[in-house]
Subunit: 626 residues, 2 copies
């Protein structure tokens, strides 16, 4: 087993995984420059994460550890899975520190780790819920609770911490717990993790340490729920997606064909019947679940932010296997839309549920006053705190998702201003810099600088949405056709300073969905590049966006507005609204169309909605059929 | 206060209610002859109710009473509201006995009553959940549980039993409990009923006894949740609808204008934004609730059978106020569709949830195995048993919903073969018989036989759906225009044997819904007379009904099929299905229509679906727009 030194390991370290073609580029090798993502990562690091840590302290999440060993005499607070929230925060901090030093983040991370470690028991067990009078209940509710889920998040935090600092204090703690679990879990008949997460963490722990027992335990837990036999992706969205991450990680190490087949079945089922156009997943509030095929309501979308993170995680792992662009397409779709909507522009408030339509109203329930909802706005804190630190770790690790290497060269997955300083697999140092206004503009200039002239393949991702794509090298066009939904393989002897210019067509696209998606019939959505749009009431005065109808044959214009919502390209389209909206709920069909008046529809990126107060919004717009 | 003798009181006794124009006709005065409803009432009485009683015994619901006073040494079983299930069964039995003697039903009803009464405490309190170690908790969870709800069902059962038999044993028991509540509840700050029901029961108890304190307690409970201030109908569907029943009953006695205004606001909100075309209500599984305005998903409809019963109850009470036909229209819509779908054709299996679309599939959840659902079929029993006995009491009492009287004459609300033997308010004996094939045919012949020639008004309901209506008296047309959605007032001196022939246009209607109902856009539903139709896979081989598109400009033909589903009129329409259904979930909009092939669509009444095994079904059909 060959693996990089600790500081050169990627977010997911497939460097020695036999069944992955793509190998990781570590976070530190990619320095974002000012562009689309850097302000968001900065807001996460400077505003979101410090505030989140403060709230974790305020809500007793850190004290839940301190009380175990008597450092605080307070009752335990919060859900039984609060440990995982702190672990995720530490993992996010470690990803930040893999990019750059930040004394404040570093200090809080150390504080948190120092609060955690003494809570570990002699036998390696570590969980703040199953202590005192509940200690005897450990391992008795694996099927329904989050005991192993918390362990998994500890392992991931410890791995990220080790990769950031080279320190082993949290990793040693994690390994003691993992070793303990390797002894205990296989002896509990039927044991599985009620909320998957530990499966992918165990495989990564195997990658980090080379200890096969962790891979064995991952297999044990995957098989306990029949991963290889699953025909569809069903049930709780985050659990199902995390489980697929574990299955993909396991396949990357073992190549077991039944796992690959199951991954394909579930991926097809998700992307053909259960995924929002935003990449969000989870059509049903009940059980936070995926629902049935084509069950994709808009106002009642669940589309938990954590599910978007899970969808990115899973597609990244699938992409690593063979470098198939379809996985990168879903990853990018989710990243710019379903995921990014989960956090406010200032980086401090979070959506748990991400609807694709909103009527601007709250709602009441005289019988369950606690069910009074709305207005629907992002919150700085949820008692079930899973989403905010998931946003934090996803953003902090994002530089690690831009590039990969393979035996034949370099892969470019994401586009934004950044400088890569890394090496080809043969060890040749390679620098690449990107210059672009992506995602507002499809022109990207990549300057490729190997240390010495070197023959290798530059795999450039041509997104599925690119209505045309062309590429020049040092100003001369290439004869390789640049087809959408593929990686364009440019093989040549690259000279230091070679310039590749990629032009991706970003004409606004009018999208429709499969007619089985009941709510989207006769409706269209706007997309430009990777960005999915919505109509929000703020930009559309004088009518309700829920009544608006868009003429798909009309011109749709784009305009960059630097002053709006942190800088966005808006779209304007031709549409109509009814002049006399009816009030009858049911009436006889009439051949005559309803009378309408023309309006201009103004669309903003979906991710930016609800940053100016909660007002009506819709992604899917009725199609105008005159 | 004037009231009829016990055996002449209606289902809801508005005979002395000052703010009702319409006065009840008791169940016994209406004898159904073979037609649409009689076989269903017979199945309910002969098959459904005996089996349900057996299941109530089997699941310990009756023993829950016996154990209180030591007649059975068994633990209490079931939800905290099981008492109400037995009360509802008794009420149903009493309605049956108001129609006809039935020794078997009578014996079981007496058995049940004899099991209940000894469980009453000295102070009048009666509830099998708040006993033993929970006795001290009585009245501590009024806001969230069903303590007063159970009391309300006891009162209703007792009233129906008294009206059936003249016996007072259960009524005395109810009055002792009610008197106790009148003392206790007003002294509990903020007390209200977490699940409404008792409010309407208390008003009826006031009507039964003339004791104002029951009306006062009803007012107290209605005001505790601000009935008069409610702006919308929101929250748990059954609770909200039962609460409106209580509000309407209270208004009928007091005429308080703020209650009438609240009833109007809630009724408008329900019927314009929250009611299925079937009359079902409850668009959200979460909280079994009504959801937001226009939140009416089809496959995920909740539309609990109890909510349909509640909608019938409420509209009946509204109808009594002034005789406005809009209330009868909603009542009939709900009765033939949303309610009737709740029970199988053989009368022994029940839906709790009534979807308007079904894909024929079950579903799984690897993380919550208990959430594995389907195939979706009617069940003989639910642990939450509210719906089956609600079906039983609704069917058993149905003869009481056919007619009313008013100062000026007789009102005919429902059409089916039956003989009325009752009297006008002035005491003149009046017999009416209906001869019809309704709802399959719109021709109804009414033979009107007053004991002596008498001038009065015959108010004939002209349903909202009647595309034309005409009436003749003794073969001669009348000059009164018969407008849809009104009661046609025929005033004359009626002679014994006068024949009225009413002809209601029943051309199949293609219906659409308000465009804010997201799932129904560009879709149509078929309705003929009061019956809403659906496509079920059984009748549509060779394609999926979920892919079918209906041409609303094509002819729709009707055919009565006596051999099918107990005898139904089926509809056939021209439609198409896609020749190459796409698999992509999202794609670019195209101007060209998808290629299709013509098919014949066969629709059956919605109420009859899922009586031949659970297969795909849809009420709303995509509109074909070539």
């Amino acid at each position: 087993m060959v693996s990089f030194p600790y500081h050169d390991r990627g977010v997911v370290d497939t460097s020695a995984s036999p069944y992955t073609r793509l190998k990781p580029v570590p976070i530190h090798a990619v320095r974002l420059r000012d562009g689309f993502w850097k302000p968001r990562l900065d807001a996460n690091m400077r505003a979101g994460m410090p505030e989140l840590y403060r709230l974790l302290e305020e809500h007793g999440v850190v004290d839940n550890f301190r009380r175990v060993y008597g450092a605080k005499d307070v009752p335990r607070r919060g859900y039984l899975f609060t440990d995982s929230d702190l672990y995720k925060w530490i993992e996010a901090a470690a990803f930040v520190l893999q990019s750059q030093d930040d004394p404040e983040i570093r200090q809080r991370m150390d504080e948190a780790i120092d609060a955690i470690i003494p809570a570990q028991r002699e036998d390696g067990y570590l969980n703040t819920y199953y202590v005192d009078e509940r200690y005897d209940q450990r391992y008795t509710r694996l099927d329904t609770d989050h005991e192993l889920y918390c362990a998994g998040h500890l392992f991931q935090a410890a791995i990220a911490h080790h990769r950031a600092t080279g320190e082993t204090k949290l990793l040693d703690c994690a390994l003691r717990f993992a070793d303990h679990l390797c002894q205990v879990i296989p002896n509990i008949p039927g044991a599985f993790s009620g909320h998957p997460e530990i499966e992918m963490a165990l495989v990564e722990l195997y990658r980090e340490t080379g200890r096969a027992r962790y891979l064995d335990l991952a297999r044990h837990l995957l098989n306990a729920k029949g991963f290889a036999e699953l025909q569809k992706i069903e049930g709780h969205a985050v659990r199902a997606l995390y489980f697929c991450c574990g299955g993909a990680d396991y396949y990357a190490e073992t190549g077991e064909p039944a796992f690959r087949a199951s991954l394909e079945r579930q991926w097809e089922n998700l992307t053909r019947t259960k995924m929002y156009i935003t990449g969000g997943a989870g059509g049903r509030h009940q059980g936070e679940s995926l629902g049935k095929d084509y069950e994709l309501p808009n106002a009642r979308a669940y589309a938990e932010t954590c599910a978007a993170v899970g969808n990115i995680f899973w597609n990244w792992r699938m992409l690593m296997l063979d470098g198939e662009a379809r996985f990168a397409d879903v990853l990018e779709r989710t990243l710019y839309n379903g995921f990014l909507a989960g956090v406010s522009l200032d980086g401090t408030r979070y959506f748990y549920v991400n609807p694709l339509s909103y009527d601007g109203e709250g709602e009441g329930d005289p019988w369950y006053p606690w069910a009074r909802r709305g207005p629907y706005e992002r919150q700085p804190w949820y008692d079930c705190t899973c989403c905010p630190p998931n946003v934090a770790r996803m953003l902090a690790s994002l530089p690690g998702y831009f590039y990969s290497t393979s035996q034949d060269g370099l892969w470019v997955h994401l586009y934004d201003n950044n400088d890569l300083d890394w090496r080809l697999i043969d060890g040749t140092r390679l620098q690449v810099s990107q210059l672009t206004r992506y995602p507002w503009d499809g022109d990207i200039t990549l300057t490729v600088t190997p240390a010495v002239p070197t023959e290798f393949t530059l795999h450039l991702r041509i997104p599925e949405w690119a209505d045309h794509a062309s590429v020049t090298i040092n100003g001369r066009s290439t004869d390789v056709p640049a087809a959408a939904g593929q990686y364009l393989a440019l093989r040549r002897e690259w000279q230091p300073g070679d310039q590749v210019h990629l032009s991706l067509g970003m004409a606004p696209a009018v999208m429709v969905s499969h007619p089985r998606v009941a709510e989207n019939r006769c409706s269209v959505a706007l997309q430009r590049g990777p960005v999915v749009y919505c109509l929000e009431a703020h930009d559309n005065p004088g009518f309700s966006v829920l009544d608006a109808q868009l003429d798909p044959t009309g011109e749709i214009t784009s305009e960059y507005r630097g002053d709006l919502l942190g800088g966005v390209t808006i779209l304007t389209a031709r549409g109509v609204v009814p002049t006399r909206p009816g009030t009858a709920l049911y009436r006889r069909w009439q051949a005559e169309p309803e009378p309408t008046r023309p309006v201009t529809l103004t669309a903003i990126p979906y991710y930016a909605w609800n940053n100016r107060g909660p007002r009506a919004m819709t992604v899917w717009i009725r199609e105008w059929r005159p």
